[in-house]
Symmetry: C2
Subunit: 216 residues, 2 copies
DNA sequence: AATTCGGGAGAACAGTTGTTAACTGCATGG
DNA sequence: CCATGCAGTTAACAACTGTTCTCCCGAATT
């Protein structure tokens, strides 16, 4: 009887997570394509060969990292676009949320920004796929917004893409800003807020040229 | 009076360029941080030790590649923003220019997109610096535009940043689009055009809320 | 014509890499 | 309670890495 049929699998998941964590930390100073299998196992404190019990290659580990990283990004994006409050306040809140997320998971953000165009195809594609899903999700959220009345689905998606890209750029800028100086951070916030505002203004007047004179 | 620069230095610059070219080609399938010195020399056909006659390290070569890649991007950005024709036509022309540049120098574009957030600090910083210069330049160009009357310098820079980032994103999308299928290319063009248009609309109504008479 | 200079070659170095094989110990399911 | 399964280990492999030192030879300088 013994006992929780899970001591075994729990320990496995535990070292697996340790591998992911160690890799993420090592990736602070290099790209995935130069990350070595031995390097990771050494950091964790296990034999190199044990790596194969969890991943078939470092590429595989990278793909797993994508799931983890964008899994943590998922709720953030949803909350960011969620309709709440007036326009100006919404923008401020969105930026604050991004900044908070970068603070909470800097390694994840760095990983996504770096490997999005990185040298490992499967990882790149995994990121692209997830971001496409995010874009679609944001598009749906926008569709439910009053300001999106009369918008074609294609236009909603292009706007969603604009937002998602802008979000990533802003996150990356927060990451680069020295954590010590709050002024650099404030500068990033200011610029990002204005850019979001400009996009918002463009959104409000998007249909002005069309027959429907629905300004306002 | 320095005599003829010589057949000597000419040959040196020639192998130096060969190293840069070979590196750029090898970087199609990996990141700079995993590019090996021996790998590059092997591709060129010279001894590994000869590498040191031209660069102190692969990082150094990477920084040189930044100059080359963004040097070729420089005239493009300038032309793209240059005022010519009506708004809608300008957008189409800008996108065509980007597509053409990606076709002409795909490896350069890939390199910049990849290493902008890549794992090699000096290269990352070199790219950031060059992009900042571009942004400033675009800002100046925008300042000379009639549509920018009444804009603060800070706002001009944030708009310039938006444009530069958008340009890079679009270029990267063209790069990812399979060169064979013109339909994928067309799709990228369509979305990019609409995004630029939306930004343009936002720009036109940016000052609506301020003192000037307007709706609202 | 003689000498210097410098790009490149060659060999050797100490480390590192991914991957294989055969092993050990312990939680697990019968 | 015992036999199986499986995470993890140890040892070994061929291949590869960056870097140093010594040498070569042709162009440049004098």
């Amino acid at each position: 009887m013994s006992h929780t049929p899970g001591i075994r699998q729990a320990q496995k998941q535990r070292t697996r997570q340790a591998l992911l964590d160690a890799a993420l930390e090592l990736l602070e100073g290099q790209s995935l394509s130069s990350l070595g299998l031995r390097e990771v196992t050494r950091a964790v404190g296990i034999a190199p060969t044990a790596f194969y019990r969890h991943f078939r290659s470092v590429e595989d580990l990278g793909v797993a990292l994508v799931e983890e990283a964008l899994g943590s990004l998922h709720p953030m994006i949803r909350t960011t676009v969620s309709p709440a409050g007036e326009g100006e306040e919404r923008i401020a809140r969105a930026i604050e949320l991004i900044a908070g997320h970068v603070d909470a998971h800097p390694a994840h953000v760095r990983f996504v920004a770096r490997e999005r165009h990185g040298g490992v195809r499967p990882v790149r594609e995994a990121i692209q796929e997830q971001l496409a899903r995010f874009t679609a999700e944001v598009g749906e959220a926008l569709a439910g917004d009053a300001e999106s009345a009369g918008w074609s689905e294609e236009d909603l998606l292009m706007l969603a893409q604009l937002y998602v890209d802008q979000m990533l750029i802003t996150a990356s800028l927060f990451l680069e800003a020295p954590a010590s100086s709050p002024e650099a951070r404030e500068r990033v916030s200011r610029v990002a807020a204005r850019q979001l505002r400009l996009i918002h203004v463009g959104r409000q007047h998007w249909l002005d040229g069309t027959g429907a004179a629905g300004s306002r």
